[in-house]
């Protein structure tokens, strides 16, 4: 546990208001090693001024959001809430994840208990990005973590182990992940997305690195979207830190 001084990684959890989809208690429990930024958003159609919606629904939605925040607080999680009236929730999720410097974004799903975590890696670079987050996430839990690398045609599974998976595992260990809980899995497939989707079915949680420079892209993106739509498991998308610089610049210009 090398990072006990630093604040733990943070994750953005968004809920639609005033009728939030249920968040399973086990999922909240699984988030307990992290800091949570709870974003409540109220979708406003274009016929309506967002200010007008806020005037009428502000109190009510705030109360619902506070109740949900209470569930996180009861689980011992440090939670920050944001409430936004928006014509475009993807814009909102993207902006808040940058403003709050969230390390990851949660796409909720069903979960009984966190036993097995799937971490598909595209390469070593990807592993560097995800490792600190995995370390925080698994600090208290007993879950096993499978590092999955889908091998492309010009490589062998053995190459994959020595070039990607083993260095990635070392990286995880550097951050304090118990190597006894790590499993390495190399797999040859034509379509990485399909392969990941197939594997994901047997896991309780999928943790992915962001591929595109923004959350907006990733929520629409190929692999995460297919994982989300074809499995019931929740997905955590670890954000690209470089993206923050660009987005922060944009935000500064906007202000």
């Amino acid at each position: 546990m090398t990072d006990s001084i630093l604040p733990p990684s943070s994750i953005l959890v968004d809920v639609e208001l005033p009728d939030p989809k249920p968040l399973p208690a086990s999922l909240i429990e699984a988030l307990s090693p992290l800091r949570v930024v709870l974003l409540g958003w109220f979708a406003v159609p274009e016929q309506t001024s967002p200010a007008q919606a806020r005037d009428q629904f502000g109190e009510e939605t705030q109360a619902i959001l506070d109740t949900i925040a209470g569930r996180f607080a009861e689980a011992g999680i440090e939670v920050t809430t944001r409430l936004v009236f928006t014509g475009d929730e993807l814009d909102t999720i993207s902006r808040i994840s940058v403003e709050e410097k969230c390390d990851a974004v949660l796409i909720p799903g069903g979960m009984d208990e966190l036993r097995r975590v799937l971490v598909p890696l595209r390469g070593l670079e990807n592993a560097h990005q995800i490792a600190p987050f995995i370390a925080d996430l698994c600090r208290d839990a007993t879950a096993t973590v499978t590092l999955l690398h889908v091998v492309e045609e010009d490589e062998t599974e053995a190459d994959s182990r020595t070039d990607v998976l083993e260095p990635a595992a070392d990286r995880m260990r550097d951050y304090g992940v118990d190597t006894g809980r790590l499993e390495l899995d190399a797999l040859t497939a034509d379509d990485p997305a399909d392969a990941i989707v197939d594997r994901a079915a047997a896991y309780d949680l999928v943790v992915l690195g962001e591929t595109e420079p923004s959350v907006r892209e990733i929520l629409f993106g190929t692999v995460p979207e297919r994982v989300v739509t074809t499995t019931d498991a929740p997905v955590m998308v670890v954000r690209h830190k470089d993206a923050d610089v660009d987005a922060a610049e944009q935000a500064t210009q906007a202000a």
Binding site: R54, Q56, G58, A69, E100
Partner: protein, 459 residues
């Protein structure tokens, strides 16, 4: 104040929910341009060319140019005010903050009714296009232009109350395809006129009816420039308002102004103003036919349907925003801002826009509808310019525009004078109706809202 700064919490700080309820800014430059262009383009190209050419001949080009100049003289001060106060409400907000509640109330109610008149006018235009289309297709419906317009008014109001799908993307597509249609039409037509395809110009005097009709026509067609201030009414939803607002407002005026002048130039060159005038509201369809046969006619018929509909729809939505801005300041009863829980739309305000439109369509006089709409807007435009002059004279503490209107005080002064001056060239009936409405709005203020305080400008 809408975009809160990130809350830099330290891990030791207890979890305390933020009480701030934020509003997302979702409109970029292109959607903002589409709001302005989409509101304006329906009238100038697809309804007015025949009417305008009949009154002023080829010099109707000048009428449209005069309109563009006035609109620009107003767009510059409006841009400064909008960047200083990027709040929803637009012209009403600026005038009420700078010139007080009475004028604010008159402008706010005037803006609502001006948009209602404009929307009725666009829908009459839509009725003409739909009836032309049905005739071309050989479908014989026992419905007049007025009946078609009425049906569409009811349908549009219903859809805007119950519609959960955002039509914002649709609006962008409509404006995009209109620009493509018009680009082809104007490009090909322009080459035609220059003799590239060997078609003969119709030789004609530039001022067949003298110079006076140029000004009365400018007053009539000014309805084609009512859209740019609508961009300021959604200022609260625009991303990077200090950059986007001036670009979108000035850009949309320049874009549509150029299109209008070109349309009249090509129309009068190819068909002559007499023939254009006989063809009436849908004259531009025959200009299309003379350029590219049935295909040209079909493209412009389709364009006309889309453009008039998009203008009418945008005006209904803006009218509802105007009502909300008034009710937020308690100048009208608060019930009108009630949002329907199921559809999340302001059904009362939308009905207050759609209902009067139906009545005005029954009144049915296209030119009067257009002029009253223009008059009510010109009253607001003039006062926006005055508001800028007042705020420049004694800027309140919170007044920090990021865009400054160039050439002040000359530009806003000219803007105010030309806006008020143009009204003098309107038809007496229009002046009577418009003036009567403004007096009634002042009466509303005296009876209902005299004691309502309005907050100062806040940064």
């Amino acid at each position: 104040m809408t975009n809160s700064a990130p809350q830099n919490k330290t891990p030791t700080e207890p979890a305390a929910p933020a009480e701030q309820k934020e509003l997302e800014r979702t409109l970029g430059l292109l959607p903002a341009l589409a709001i302005g262009t989409g509101t304006m383009v329906g009238a100038g190209i697809f309804v007015f060319p025949g009417l305008a050419a009949g009154r002023a001949g080829p010099a109707a080009m000048l009428s449209f140019a005069i309109g563009a100049v006035i609109a620009l003289l107003v767009a510059l001060p409006t841009s400064e005010l909008a960047t200083a106060m990027p709040e929803s409400g637009g012209g009403y907000f600026f005038v009420s903050r700078a010139l007080g509640t009475l004028l604010g109330c008159m402008v706010g109610i005037g803006q609502w009714l001006g948009l209602v008149f404009a929307s009725a006018f666009y829908l009459m235009g839509f009725g003409h296009y739909l009836s032309d289309l049905l005739r071309e297709l050989g479908i014989d419906l026992p419905l007049s232009v007025m009946g078609l317009a009425l049906g569409m008014a009811i349908l549009l109001t219903g859809v805007s109350i119950t519609g959960t799908e955002n039509t914002g993307d649709l609006q962008n597509w409509i404006v995009g395809s209109l620009l493509v249609i018009l680009g082809g039409f104007l490009g090909h037509g322009g080459l035609d006129v220059l003799g590239v395809f060997g078609q003969q110009r119709v030789p004609e005097a530039f001022f067949p009816y003298g110079t006076m009709p140029v000004f009365t026509t400018a007053a009539l067609v000014f309805t084609s420039y009512l859209g740019f201030v609508q961009i300021a009414t959604v200022a609260g939803e625009i991303k990077e308002p200090s950059r986007t607002l001036p670009r979108a407002m000035i850009g949309s005026v320049l874009l549509v102004g150029t299109l209008y002048v070109l349309t009249i130039f090509i129309g009068t060159s190819l068909l002559g103003s007499e023939q254009l005038s006989e063809l009436g509201e849908t004259a531009v369809v025959n200009v299309g036919r003379s350029i590219a046969g049935t295909f040209g006619a079909a493209a412009l018929l389709g364009g006309g349907l889309l453009a008039t509909l998009s203008s009418a729809n945008a005006s209904i939505l803006s009218a509802s925003r105007s009502i909300y801005a008034l009710s937020r300041d308690d100048l009208v009863p608060s019930q009108v801002e009630q949002i329907n829980r199921r559809f999340r739309t302001p059904h009362v305000a939308l009905l207050l826009a759609g209902g009067p439109i139906v009545v005005l369509i029954l009144f049915g006089r296209v030119e009067v509808l257009a002029e009253v709409a223009s008059l009510l807007h010109l009253f607001m435009y003039g006062l926006i310019c005055v508001a800028l002059l007042v705020l420049r004279q004694s800027p309140p503490a919170g007044y920090q525009p990021s865009f400054r209107c160039p050439g002040s005080p000359v530009v806003p002064l000219l803007g105010a004078l030309t806006s008020f001056g143009l009204v003098a060239f309107m038809n007496p009936l229009s002046i009577g109706i418009g003036g009567g409405i403004l007096i009634a709005t002042a009466g509303w203020y005296l009876c209902y809202a005299r004691t309502v305080p309005i907050s100062e400008i806040t940064p």
